[in-house]
């Protein structure tokens, strides 16, 4: 990859996004690792690429300090036969700039300015002589672990005795398998082997490195004692320092490693999203839980009762008023208002169980094929939303226009007609009673108007009563049809409101988590 700062900046932005989205969702160690890399990258980039920090790491007795001294051309690190020798990292800085801030950041207090080496120009090279990683002193290992994470270029110093140690390969080289661009391997003490042995040893070492996931890493045979191979190593280091790319390459390798660690979170070809039928099943279960059946029945009956109160036969319809209004009994508001608490009994255990099952099915399908933690995170998002479900459903019901306030247009004319018929009936009755009284008092019968052959008062009484009853019957049938229609409409409106509730409280949070997953995976893809 070219030095490409834009690409690196983009990858770092992606890393920041991963950290932001992953926190609280992904495994904490994974997020911590990403955050640490992000923090380190920011700090390292601010310090600039003028210096290249090279760690000379190795086992105890491999000759790290001798090598550093040989490279520096003077004794800067203590060399000894007692093991382990070096206990704290020592920095050797080439060039005019003392690299103070950089070494402060690395927390390496022991510093040494290298004498001018005219043989090659290594301006900006900072060598760190690290303690060993395999001795009985645990603090040495911890210091190595810390600095290995921070430096730009890693030089592993091995020797013919120790080049196959598990402590090196298992603990350091394999975890850093993606860091081939910023890794050099030096086989020190090459003078101890004859040429054939050295060649075989180098071949075996290359094989082990390839097994570690570091094929093609430069392997240099040197001898700090005799000086063989030192020039090649010096030149390699000077070239790397001059190129000023190691710090960026190191960060890129770290980003690659982080991306590889994150990739299992985003399996290829995982299908996410809420299925239509799961969504409908949830809304159905919620509508049911809101008491849609009870409400629809109440709306139907209330409509019929109210219609009867207006259009029923006036002589018997007052009886209707003795029975309470079904809607008022459930305290269902005439005009929608969420502030009112209805008298509905709330979702039953079965209804809650069905909502639960629908929700579970929905989240399980929505995260089908996704690894942990997504099924859990999405489920959590959905469950959080339904904690106060009964109250939410009650508000939804109270806020739904059940269409009870508007009365049908035919009611008033029919009511008026009923009144006219009632008046006619009463008038006929009174007339007939008056005729009866006159007859009893032996008054002569006044002239009686006839309609056809039927006397008018009789017609008024009987015709009015029959017509009124007939009208009441017809109105009842009409009201029954209207009641059913209104019940259906009320159920429809309730379902729509419940759908909005589900959208806001369940589906949106679930979609949000799924979109977090999508964005996170997009960020991981940009990461490397």
């Amino acid at each position: 990859m070219p030095s490409g700062s834009p690409a690196l900046a983009d990858r770092l932005a992606a890393l920041d996004q991963v950290v932001e989205l992953g926190r609280g969702r992904l495994d904490p160690p994974l997020v911590e690792q990403a955050a640490r890399i992000a923090g380190k990258a920011g700090a390292r980039l601010r310090l600039g690429a003028a210096h290249t920090v090279v760690a000379i790491a190795g086992a105890t007795g491999s000759g790290k300090s001798s090598l550093v001294n040989a490279l520096a051309g003077e004794s800067v690190s203590e060399v000894g036969v007692r093991r382990p020798t070096t206990s704290a990292a020592t920095a050797v800085v080439w060039g005019a700039d003392s690299a103070g801030p950089l070494l402060d950041w690395l927390a390496v207090p022991r510093r040494h300015a290298a004498a001018d080496q005219p043989a090659y120009a290594a301006d900006g090279l900072v060598l760190l002589d690290l303690p060993d990683f395999d001795s009985v002193r645990v603090e040495h290992r911890l210091e190595v672990d810390r600095l290995v994470e921070l430096v730009d270029l890693l030089v592993w110093v091995l020797d013919p005795q120790k080049y196959a140690d598990a402590a090196l390969h298992d603990r350091y080289l394999r975890p850093l398998a993606g860091h081939g661009d910023v890794t050099l391997v030096v086989l020190n003490q090459a003078d101890l082997l004859d040429p054939a042995g050295l060649a075989a040893c180098l071949a075996d070492l290359r094989r082990l490195l390839a097994e570690d996931g570091l094929p093609g890493v430069p392997v240099l045979a040197v001898s700090a004692l005799t000086g063989d191979g030192l020039d090649a190593l010096s030149k390699e280091l000077a070239d790397r320092a001059a190129a000023r790319r190691a710090s960026v390459q190191r960060l890129e390798a770290d980003l690659g490693r982080t991306a590889a660690a994150l990739r299992p979170v985003c399996p290829a070809g995982a299908r996410t999203g809420i299925r239509r039928q799961d969504r409908d099943a949830l809304v159905d279960a919620l509508t049911d839980a809101a008491g849609a059946d009870t409400i629809a029945t109440a709306v139907d009956r209330a409509h019929r009762a109210r219609a009867t109160a207006v259009t029923g036969w006036p002589f018997t319809r007052w009886l209707r008023r003795l029975r309470p209004d079904p809607m008022r009994r459930l305290r269902l508001p005439e005009t929608p208002s969420e502030a009112i608490r209805t008298g509905l009994p709330g979702p039953s255990a079965v209804q809650r169980a069905r909502v639960d099952s629908a929700l579970r099915e929905l989240t399980a399908r929505a995260t089908d094929g996704l690894p942990e933690p997504w099924p859990r995170v999405v489920r959590q998002a959905a469950t959080n939303a339904t904690a106060d479900l009964p109250d939410q459903l009650d508000r939804t019901v109270a806020g739904t226009d059940l269409g009870a306030a508007r009365r049908p247009r035919w009611e008033l004319p029919v009511g008026f007609l009923q009144a006219v018929l009632a008046v006619a009936t009463v008038a006929g009755l009174v007339w007939l009673l008056a005729l009866l009284a006159l007859d009893w008092l032996r008054f002569p019968e006044p002239p009686l108007p006839h309609v056809g052959r039927v006397p008018l008062p009789t017609l008024l009484l009987i015709g009015g009563a029959v017509a009124g009853l007939l009208l009441a019957f017809l109105a009842r049938r009409l009201a029954a049809v209207g009641g059913r229609r209104r019940a259906r409409a009320a159920r429809r409106r309730l379902r729509r409101r419940v759908e909005q509730l589900a959208e806001a409280r369940v589906l949106a949070p679930v979609e949000e988590e799924l979109s977090v997953h999508t964005r996170l995976c997009a960020a991981v893809a940009r990461l490397g």
Partner: protein
């Protein structure tokens, strides 16, 4: 010196108890405990039992150490010929080589020592573990040298094999170098040797002659600090090899020491005895540690089991509450029941003896389901919803609870998503159970009906209808309906109850309802118990038997007693000054607690 059969028996008992110990739960330290268990079992098999069987077998000196320390070269030099290949490539020795005097071959040819390793005459080419047996006249009788693979190279198989061989040694000849003597890995093994009381010789090879003094001083100081001052220490200078061998002069002290040991039967027996005693002694520490690990594992298992039990019991309670509260009646059961009563099917059935037959005939012609079958479906699906949601919730909560428990997350592992829901065939089994329950309720009604004079009236509207009414009553009569719903639904519910009471009488109806609910709950408990079993099996497959730790402790105690007794028997000649009568044995601290528990 005769072998003590009771001691061997006690060792074998400890071995069997330890080998049978399940430590599958991933609690903190479980990995260590498993390794410790395997090491213990292997040491008993490879070393303790063979050695206890033949105390006069040759001394087995295992030459072990870091890769590149020159173990093979050292062994070759000691014998005087190249028997074990040495080289610059690491690790060199992959198959162990056992060198012994030709007369001693019989001790090692059969599988008594290191029974897990096949014997071979030449270097092993197959991948399996084997032991190359090389009888050589240069090896003195009574001594066998074993060139072990390295303890720290990248080849993991080598490391394990080396640890196994070292555990089988009468004497460890530990080879390190001037560059390596402070490495962490060998020191861990040295400390293990110290804990196990293994006789130890430390050879520091490849020391640059000028640094000899300083390095040996430092190494001696490190050994003393590590409590290993009794180890014999030898320095071998880094000198050019002649014909692949170190010049004899450089290894003379080590050679003389080994030859002296081989020649002196008493000294050899002393080394054997010291190592054997140390190994036996170490058991009294390692076995209780293993028992403690088993205790921890058991405790973690108990917590996990309790999680599952509590959450599934809560699920059963949820279902019971749902049924008892009468809430199951609400909703669609109610609506269907209203339909049922409203259409007058039941009343018509009551009025006409042929009501049921007519319904069936009509149903047969029209294909419409019988009205009471519709109600039955509704009841079934309500109970089903209730139980399935409870099962799902319990599974989810158990999985969630386990995630935070030691050992829980690892148990769930990859099947986490599967376990967090009820099992695949649960819905099917649930449906079967609910059907069977409905059959029970019908039987209940018909048996009650047969005993009473009302049998004739029962027949009039069909056992089916009455059974249904009882089912509905199960939900309705205990908790009753509340609030506004009573006004809407109470009427019809009351009708069904009235009908039933007219047929059976109030007390019988209540008793039937209670019994039907009990039967339902019994089935639900069985179903959910089966679901909880999925979690329980996982735990029980990995957790030790509850009594295993106790048995292990008892076996360790028996072993300790046998060891002391045998020490007393074998000692008098060697150390008559301090015979320890059994009565004066120091009180055994490990004893007190199990005495408390069992005595």
């Amino acid at each position: 010196m005769a072998a003590q059969p009771d001691l061997a028996g006690a060792v074998a008992t400890v071995r069997d108890r330890a080998a049978g110990l399940r430590l599958g739960l991933e609690v903190p330290g479980a990995d260590l405990a498993r390794r410790s268990r395997d090491e213990l079992v292997r040491q008993v098999d490879d070393y303790l039992l063979p050695r206890l069987g033949r105390l006069d077998a040759p001394l087995l000196a295992v030459v072990g150490g870091s890769t590149g320390a020159g173990k093979s070269t050292l062994v070759n030099t000691l014998v005087g010929v190249e028997v074990s290949p040495a080289g610059v490539l690491r690790p060199t020795t992959r198959a162990p080589v056992l060198l012994c005097a030709p007369g001693d071959e019989r001790w090692f040819a059969d599988g008594r020592v290191l029974p897990g390793l096949a014997r071979s005459a030449g270097p092993s080419t197959s991948g399996e573990r084997s032991l190359q047996l090389v009888p050589h006249p240069a090896v003195p009788a009574g001594l066998a040298l074993l060139d072990a693979p390295d303890i720290d190279s990248v080849v993991a198989g080598n490391r394990e094999l080396a640890a196994q061989l070292l555990a089988a040694a009468d004497l460890w000849v530990f080879v390190t170098t001037a560059a390596r003597y402070a490495d962490a890995v060998p020191w861990e093994l040295l400390h293990t040797a110290e804990r196990r009381g293994t006789a130890l010789a430390v050879v520091c090879n490849r020391v640059p002659p000028p640094a000899m003094r300083e390095v040996m001083d430092h190494l001696g100081q490190m050994l003393a600090e590590g409590g290993l001052s009794r180890a014999a220490l030898f320095g071998v200078p880094e000198v050019p090899l002649t014909g692949g061998l170190i010049p004899p002069r450089a290894v003379a002290p080590l050679r003389d020491w080994l030859l002296g040991l081989a020649a002196d039967a008493a000294a050899r027996a002393e080394v054997v005895r010291a190592t054997l005693d140390g190994a036996l002694r170490s058991m009294s520490e390692r076995v209780p540690a293993l028992a403690r690990a088993a205790d921890e594992s058991s405790a973690a298992a108990a917590v996990l089991l309790e999680d599952a039990d509590v959450l599934y019991a809560a699920a059963v309670r949820d279902v019971d509450d749902g049924v008892r509260g009468g809430t199951v009646l609400r909703g669609e059961v109610l609506a269907r029941w209203q339909e049922f009563v409203g259409t007058g099917e039941l009343l018509r059935g009551l009025q006409s003896r042929v009501g049921r037959i007519r319904d069936r005939v009509a149903s047969a012609f029209t294909g419409r389901p019988l009205p009471d079958e519709e109600v039955a479906d509704a009841v079934e699906s309500s109970v089903e919803s209730l139980v399935r949601a409870a099962a799902d919730r319990a599974a989810e909560r158990t999985a969630e609870a386990w995630r935070g428990r030691p050992g829980g997350a690892a148990l769930l592992g990859a099947s986490r998503t599967v376990l967090a829901r009820s099992s695949e065939d649960f819905a099917e089994r649930l449906r079967t159970e609910v059907r069977a329950w409905q059959g029970d309720v019908l039987n209940l009604v018909s048996s009650q009906g047969a005993q009473r004079r009302t049998a004739a009236r029962m027949a009039s509207f069909g056992v089916n209808g009455a059974g249904l009414a009882v089912m509905l009553l199960v939900f309705a009569q205990t908790g009753g309906l509340t609030g506004a719903e009573v006004l809407i639904a109470g009427g019809t519910s009351a009708v069904s109850q009235k009908v039933l009471e007219a047929v059976f009488g109030d007390g019988v109806v209540r008793a039937m309802a209670t019994q039907a609910r009990h039967e339902l709950m019994e089935r639900v408990e069985k179903l959910l118990g089966g679901e909880a079993e999925r979690f329980r099996t996982l735990v029980l497959a990995g957790a030790p038997d509850p009594a295993a730790a106790e048995a292990l402790r008892r076996a360790a105690h028996e072993l300790e007693l046998a060891r002391r007794a045998s020490a007393e028997v074998s000692r008098p000649a060697a150390a008559p000054a301090r015979p320890v009568p059994p009565a004066e044995l120091p009180p055994e601290p490990k004893l007190s607690w199990w005495r408390r528990a069992f005595g």
